[in-house]
């Protein structure tokens, strides 16, 4: 009896399997009516009244180039991890359009706060992908200057960066940098992060301060092994309403829609209209990281269904269909991506380990006496091995 009661008490409102399937359907399969799309999976250009997009062939081709190169970087990194050159890698496979579309919507003075999977945004901001490999190789904790490309360090603790982004946006307000020619911030996070207190607090801070920020949530459907239904019973973009700012859901595999929706939200933020939540509805095609095994918790049929919505293939189809690109263009992009891949592979393989004594650097603005003594002691300790070697 005790066991039964325990079970019943612990799962109040547990629905029958049929009800559950119905309830989760809107989350797992976005309602086309609420999903902003400008390019269908088949590569057909469609219009949306709220998001008119004038875009030249050259611009679409540039986006295509970004998408292909970013996927190639990811591919190389996975291979490098398999070969023992990286400790781990968090793949962005499937999320290229969400990252490139939003990343290319940013101006040089806008500031981006990434998670640890925003390799495509990093590319758009001009950060050398080799910097990302440094982190995943264990050579640095990132180590880049966030002001160099207005691209903050990767944040690994889930959701923390949304508060940093919000505070940064409050700083923009205090600098009087909102309005004509204003600046704004974009905060990246995932579906899992929406459960974190920090993310909800960021929504509140941004809202009550009317901060110039765009919350860009890549809903890739999986927080490691947990499907979205473990995080939310409501579509994520709808949460914004409760916090007092608009939320929109965009086809995260549609680079044009991601570009148009992010551009509009960023412009609104720059002009002083406050925050927007963008839910980019996408799919994590790969594992959570290279140490994860998704076959333990999800069906391959789901993956196959999403393959048909590939973010790159639809752009290619569009360019071919509308005769905006010759086949030679695609070959050129492939060749360029391969060259990027070769370059970062070689850079990774040749990357030296950091100097042991460097671990004492930058703990504070200047070393304390204690830390200086520790460093000195460690150096002497290391030297003692060399002396021992020498006398052998």
């Amino acid at each position: 009896m005790a066991v039964k009661d325990a079970g019943r008490a612990a799962r109040p409102g547990k629905r029958a399997p049929d009800d559950r399937a119905l309830a989760q359907e809107p989350d797992r399969q976005a309602d086309p009516a609420e999903l902003i799309q400008l390019l269908t999976p088949e590569g057909e250009r469609v219009e949306h009244p709220d998001y008119p997009l004038e875009i030249s062939a050259a611009e679409v081709k540039a986006l295509y180039r970004d998408l292909v190169i970013v996927r190639r970087i990811d591919f190389e990194a996975i291979a490098l991890q398999r070969q023992g050159e990286l400790g781990i890698w968090a793949s962005l496979l499937g999320q290229e359009a969400a990252q490139v579309g939003s990343g290319r919507a940013l101006g040089p003075r806008d500031m981006a706060f990434p998670t640890y999977r925003e390799h495509g945004v990093a590319w758009c901001r001009g950060l050398d992908p080799v910097k990302l490999l440094e982190l995943f190789r264990g050579v640095s904790h990132g180590g880049w200057d966030p002001t160099a490309h207005n691209f903050h360090l990767y944040t690994i603790v889930i959701g923390s960066q949304t508060l940093h982004a919000t505070g940064y946006a409050m700083g923009i307000q205090r600098d009087g940098a909102v309005g004509d020619d204003g600046e704004a911030v974009i905060a990246y996070f995932g579906d899992g992060a929406t459960s974190q207190g920090d993310v909800n607090e960021a929504f509140i801070w941004a809202s009550v301060n009317n901060a110039p920020i765009v919350f860009f949530c890549q809903n890739n459907q999986w927080a490691i092994s947990e499907p979205l239904e473990r995080q939310s019973r409501t579509p994520l973009y709808m949460r914004a309403k409760g916090f007092g700012f608009p939320g929109v859901r965009v086809d995260g595999n549609d680079v044009l829609a991601c570009l148009a929706v992010t551009r509009k939200a960023m412009q609104a933020a720059r002009e002083g209209q406050g925050p927007t939540l963008i839910e980019a509805f996408t799919y994590r095609m790969g594992a959570h990281t290279t140490t994860d095994d998704p076959t333990r918790y999800r069906l391959s049929a789901e993956l196959e269904a999403w393959k048909l919505k590939d973010p790159i293939e639809r752009v290619k189809q569009y360019l071919i269909r509308t005769e905006q690109a010759e086949m030679s263009f695609f070959d050129e992009v492939e060749a360029e991506a391969a060259a990027v891949g070769s370059r970062i592979r070689a850079a990774c393989q040749q990357m030296p380990d950091p100097e042991p004594l460097s671990m004492f650097d930058n703990v504070l603005t200047a070393p304390t006496a204690q830390l200086a003594a520790e460093r000195e002691g460690f150096a002497a300790y290391l030297d003692s091995f060399e002396a021992e070697e020498a006398t052998r």
Partner: protein, 327 residues
């Protein structure tokens, strides 16, 4: 006897805990279908159901906060924090709520809650995945803090923690998850030491070496190396960090006259400092040398390519042992 890895031993121990008490629950991120990122809870949801092995939303404060609520309602949650560095979003719930509710209620409230934390480095991980935050919790009155160092202790101590009516922070040495040992799954629990007692792992005469968690194996190896050098180390696996089993510690130091404390955590303000103070106070006239500490430098955990320099190893332990003979 069954050969078990440390992670499998925890899994078997958790299974026993779920069988032993119908109110016991497991909750955390990815503990269900995936079986945890280290597979410590592998298969438990399948066998005990989603009501007892709960995949929670991704929020550590939420895990501990709701576990407190479940405990108030009579359940016995065993929570998993996926990695050491992710415990800090839950720090408020642990330090301000979990640790103090019995005291605030004058004993009316009992919170039989276990927080499992894979801790320590040495696995080549990225930031926040290699930390040793145990001293922060040992510093917090109202919590029991333990660390297992081998499969047998993993198997028995997790069951003892689950049976404890006090909140327990249960630290698991993640780089030892794959260490194997023979475990008597039927008789081990009955034969086990109480969770709050230290164990003399290796008897010795010259130096007492105190350690726990991932450093237990390293210190046992140091004892072998030191023996070759003519030094006899007494290795004590503390097991309980709060409270400390000072009887065992003091008895050993009074015998050997020398004491070295080893942990992966930063030396500054670490458990070694507390132990050194107590040993100095209680064993002052037995000491031949000051209590020495081996641990991490006063820096954040470095990039993993430097962790072999950062983490205490055999050489650093032997170096401290040598220094303790230098007085």
């Amino acid at each position: 006897m069954t050969t078990l890895t440390l992670s499998r031993a925890l899994n078997e121990g958790l299974r026993k805990a779920l069988e032993a008490n119908a109110k016991a629950l497991i909750m955390g991120e990815d503990v269900g279908k995936l079986g945890g990122v280290f597979r410590v809870t592998d298969g438990l949801q399948k066998d005990f159901g989603e009501a007892r092995v709960i995949d929670t939303p991704l929020a550590e404060s939420g895990i501990i906060g709701t576990a407190i609520g479940l405990a108030l309602r009579g359940y016995r949650p065993i929570c998993e924090i996926q990695f050491d560095g992710f415990i800090f979003p839950a720090f408020d719930q642990i330090v301000s709520q979990l640790a103090k509710m019995r005291y605030r209620s004058r004993g009316a409230v009992t919170l039989p809650l276990v927080v499992r934390v894979p801790f320590g480095g040495g696995i080549g991980a990225v930031e926040h995945h290699s930390e040793s935050p145990e001293a922060l919790f040992a510093h917090t009155p109202g919590l029991r803090v333990v660390a297992c160092g081998d499969p047998v202790d993993a198997y028995t101590m997790i069951q003892q923690a689950a049976a404890s009516d006090d909140p327990v922070l249960f630290f698991e040495p993640k780089r030892r998850y794959w260490d194997k040992a023979e475990v008597d799954v039927e008789g081990a629990l009955a034969a086990a030491l109480p969770m709050d007692q230290a164990r003399v792992l290796v008897e010795g005469a010259d130096v007492t070496v105190l350690c726990y968690g991932p450093m237990v194996r390293t210190c046992a190896e140091a004892a072998v190396a030191a023996a070759g050098d003519g030094k006899s180390l007494e290795i004590i696996d503390l097991r309980s960090l709060a409270p400390l089993d000072t009887d065992t510690i003091f008895a050993s130091v009074r015998k050997t006259g020398r004491c070295v404390v080893v942990h992966e955590a930063v030396v500054t303000g670490g458990l070694g400092a507390e132990i050194a103070a107590q040993v100095t106070q209680e064993c002052f006239y037995s000491l031949e040398a000051p209590v020495l500490r081996v641990g991490a430098y006063t820096t954040p955990y470095p990039p993993s390519r430097l962790e072999e320099y950062y983490l205490p190893d055999l050489d650093r332990i032997l170096d401290a042992v040598d220094r303790s003979f230098g007085y």
